[in-house]
């Protein structure tokens, strides 16, 4: 493991993987330069299979901090580009920013302040600007991102692997080296795969609004379908890498909706027919939008995306047999170490809250007296529990425990329900 030179301690290296987007790349670095980001911060641009325009655009301006361009030829994808940047970085904290992001003011300072010597993973919000005169697709994309951040900014949110967005992410360099960087075999969902390893290493997460930026993303319909297929395939790869995490992946779940189940069957059993259906549906989506039929549009769009995900998974996994093999592998895989906190349902909430903070369990084992009732919140894809999770505004944990208490009290005293 390399050590940080003395003059670079407490500093940030901004790593920007880029692929032929010189305009937005320069916009990003300009924001950093205009917001008082000063040395010893540095910016590493990893030009992933770029034309010389990228290096020229960066070199054409003078920056108040060192900016280096690392060439990666031919293109090997953003995950390997980020790893290359991390190897070359000198700062204590690695801040990854995608090249289509326009950071909010003082993003480097914000991430530096949040780390402040603490071993944290800071997730900045890559917020999509609300598109003007937006079509249904753009509006749905914008709302999807906003929904993710609404969830993550709630106090007491229990972070999971799927909250790790690499658009704006910072990690202490030594922790990064311990993790081994991004998995270079993945071309998609490499952030979620990293998230699983972070969760497994019991990382602490912080979501930062101020440490975010505007995400100027291209959202054409073709690209979305392709992306969804890639996600299905990537989930298969992740399940093979981490069988213990299989049941946290969408891959492990079907849908109770018989129509969705039918779409999944088509993706596995009649892919050509399904592909034909998707092409028709994509044309119909335009018609539905022209007629402003939102509900029908959402359903059809959801169906197309669902098909694309499962088609990608089926192709990568080898059909039903492949999916079953993943399931079997998950069932027989050696489970990661899971801390279980035994919770006596008769204990008071304040004690439970304190014990959650002290022990940071992954699972709650419920009991009343000597009677074991079962487990709660056993999700290997989520961070260990904290006392703050009891105070989440949705109070899911409190409600679940309250229900468990009520059931337990009925079991121990069945007449209690009818007592006047």
């Amino acid at each position: 493991m390399s050590t940080t030179p003395k003059e670079w301690r407490g500093t940030v290296t901004v790593i920007v993987p880029t692929h032929d987007r010189p305009v937005s790349l320069v916009r990003l670095i300009r924001v950093l330069a205009n917001d008082g980001t000063t040395p010893p911060c540095e910016v590493l641009v990893v030009a992933d299979g770029c034309t010389p325009d990228t290096a020229h655009a960066v070199a054409a301006e003078r920056w108040p901090f060192p900016v280096r361009v690392l060439e990666q030829q031919p293109s090997r994808g953003p995950a390997i580009a980020r790893n290359l940047g991390a190897i070359e970085a000198r700062g204590d904290v690695l801040l990854f920013i995608d090249d289509d992001i326009e950071p909010f003011g003082d993003v480097v300072g914000e991430h530096r302040r949040l780390h402040d010597g603490r071993p944290l993973v800071v997730i900045g919000a890559p917020r999509a600007p609300r598109p003007r005169d937006a079509g249904f697709r753009e509006l749905a994309g914008w709302a999807w991102w906003e929904q993710q951040f609404e969830r993550m900014r709630r106090p007491g949110h229990r972070f999971g692997y799927d909250d790790v967005f690499t658009g704006l992410l910072s990690v202490p360099r030594d922790f990064w080296q311990l993790l081994g960087g991004f998995d270079s075999s993945l071309r998609c969902r490499e952030d979620f795969e990293l998230g699983l390893r972070l969760v497994r290493r019991r990382a602490s997460f912080v979501f930062s609004e101020a440490g975010g930026g505007w995400h100027h993303e291209n959202r054409s319909g073709d690209r979305l379908v392709r992306r969804k297929k890639d996600e299905g395939a990537a989930d298969v790869a992740i399940a093979r890498l981490h069988p213990w995490a299989f049941r946290s992946l969408p891959l492990s779940r079907g849908s109770p909706d018989p129509r969705a189940d039918f779409v999944r069957r088509v993706a596995f059993d009649w892919p050509r027919l399904g592909g034909f259906g998707v092409r028709i549906a994509e044309r119909l989506l335009d018609v539905l939008e022209a007629l402003r039929m939102r509900r029908a549009w959402r359903r059809m769009q959801g169906g197309v995306m669902y098909f694309a995900y499962w088609r990608g998974a089926a192709a990568a996994g080898g059909g039903w047999a492949g999916l079953e093999a993943l399931r079997v592998a998950a069932a027989t895989a050696e489970p990661p170490e899971r801390r279980v906190l035994d919770v006596d349902l008769e204990q008071d909430w304040a004690t439970l809250e304190r014990r959650l903070d002290e022990t940071r369990p992954d699972v709650l084992g419920l009991r009343i007296g000597d009677m074991h009732l079962g487990h709660l919140l056993d999700d290997p894809g989520r961070e260990p529990l904290r006392g703050a999770h009891l105070r989440s505004p949705t109070y899911e944990l409190v409600r679940a425990l309250t229900a468990a208490r009520a059931i337990a009290s009925l079991r121990s005293n069945p007449m209690g329900a009818t007592r006047p």
């Binding site: 609300r130 609404e150 939102r294 409190v398 309250t402």
Partner: protein, 405 residues
């Protein structure tokens, strides 16, 4: 006989209630602190509400909420909200109702203080009555708006407000002391542009008021709900709430545009300005939260003619608003909603003609149907009048659906 409107704390709800000799029933809201947990109507016999019936209704309707609240309170997560840093303006748009306004302002001055600004928009009142009432309430800012129209007054309030959030209260409403705090607490993220609250009757003393509560009640239940423009039908806004009890971010002016001044009271369209705003918020992909902890009491019209006019105005406003979205927003969904309303009206008409016990009175149904039929023309008339006003030198705010200023 009239219906008593009562509020009880959950800890106080196991005893018999007496002293209700002049009432035949009681509409009872059960609360635990500021949080409403049950709402039901019980018969009054011999001036009393039976204690056993009361206990049973509380357990049946509020039991689950009470258990959850108790658990949260044990954790120290009370429903009391931290409102620091939320600058708010409470705006009352009023026209020639000094008595109602006086009662409303008295209630507003009793609100838990968050440093809010109190603002009265006097919307072209005839005399000095409104100003004199405001003068009696220190700390209330008076603004005169000479152009008549509720939406014109609302827009003026949004422009005048110093707070980041503007809570609107009708002059004939009496908000609860926790009302503003609950509304402000409902703004759970930057995408939430509007919060509505639970509106209950102030009194149910006359047949007209009881009929209104039975057929057009403002209450939307005791569960907090979030209407997300990304998922919710933007034209099904009736279940969200009403302008009598709502708060908006001031930024709505930039993000969505002002209220449509061709809609609502004071124009030919009679109503619909609030629902038009809800629709536009949802069309733009933003969210509206219904927060039942924000309780306000509305004095329904006491006389039958007033009730008939109100219900007819609702019909006019709904169809005026749908006409606007169909013609200006090119939203065919408006036709579906209009047809749905039409079918519901016909069903009500048949039930009234068949004299079904729960049917709305025939004259109200006919009045609402006439209002619906008048809606499209009323919108055209209102827009034409606005254009005339515009020529006369003032700038109207008519906003195409989904458009921003």
């Amino acid at each position: 006989m009239a219906t008593a409107v009562l509020q009880l704390d959950a800890s106080d709800s196991s005893r018999e209630i007496g002293g209700l000799q002049s009432y035949g029933a009681a509409l009872i809201l059960i609360r635990r602190g500021a949080v409403p947990v049950a709402l039901f109507t019980l018969p009054v016999t011999g001036g009393r509400v039976d204690g056993r019936a009361l206990r049973s209704a509380v357990a049946e309707q509020g039991g689950e909420r009470l258990v959850s609240l108790e658990a949260l309170e044990n954790l120290g997560c009370s429903a009391a909200l931290s409102l620091e840093g939320r600058a708010a303006t409470v705006a009352v748009c009023t026209r020639d109702r000094p008595e109602d306004l006086d009662r409303c302002l008295t209630a507003l001055r009793a609100l838990a203080s968050t440093g809010q600004e109190l603002l009265v928009i006097d919307n072209a009142s005839g005399g000095d009555g409104t100003r004199l009432v405001v003068d009696r309430h220190p700390g209330v800012r008076y603004v005169r708006e000479d152009r008549p129209g509720l939406d014109i007054a609302r827009n003026r309030a949004l422009r005048e407000a110093r707070g980041e959030i503007v809570a609107f209260c009708d002059d004939d409403a009496v908000p609860d002391p926790h009302w503003l705090g609950a509304l402000l607490g409902g703004f759970d993220g930057p995408r939430t542009l509007c919060v509505t609250g639970l509106t209950l009757p102030l009194e149910l003393e006359t047949a007209a008021q009881e009929c209104f509560e039975r057929t057009n009640a403002f209450s939307r239940g005791l569960d907090r709900r979030r209407f997300d423009g990304a998922a919710h039908d933007p034209f099904l806004v009736g279940r969200i709430g009403a302008g009598v009890n709502m708060a908006l971010r001031k930024s709505v002016l930039d993000l969505i545009g002002p209220f449509d001044e061709a809609l609502d009271a004071g124009t030919a369209t009679k109503s619909g300005g609030d629902h038009d705003m809800f629709t536009r918020i949802l069309l733009a992909g933003y969210c509206i939260v219904y927060e039942p902890g924000a309780i306000s009491h509305h004095r329904h019209r006491r006389d039958w003619q007033g009730l008939r006019d109100t219900v007819r105005g609702y019909g006019t406003g709904v169809y005026a608003q749908l006409t606007k979205h169909l013609l200006e927003g090119r939203e065919p969904r408006a036709i579906g909603i209009a047809l749905g309303w039409g079918v519901a009206q016909l069903r009500n008409l048949l039930r009234s003609l068949a004299k079904r016990p729960d049917a709305p009175p025939l004259d109200l149904v006919l009045g609402e149907m006439r209002g619906c039929l008048a809606g499209p023309h009323a919108y055209r008339v209102a827009k034409r009048r606005l254009r005339v006003t515009s020529v006369a030198g003032t700038r109207p705010a008519t906003v195409a659906p989904g458009a921003r200023q």
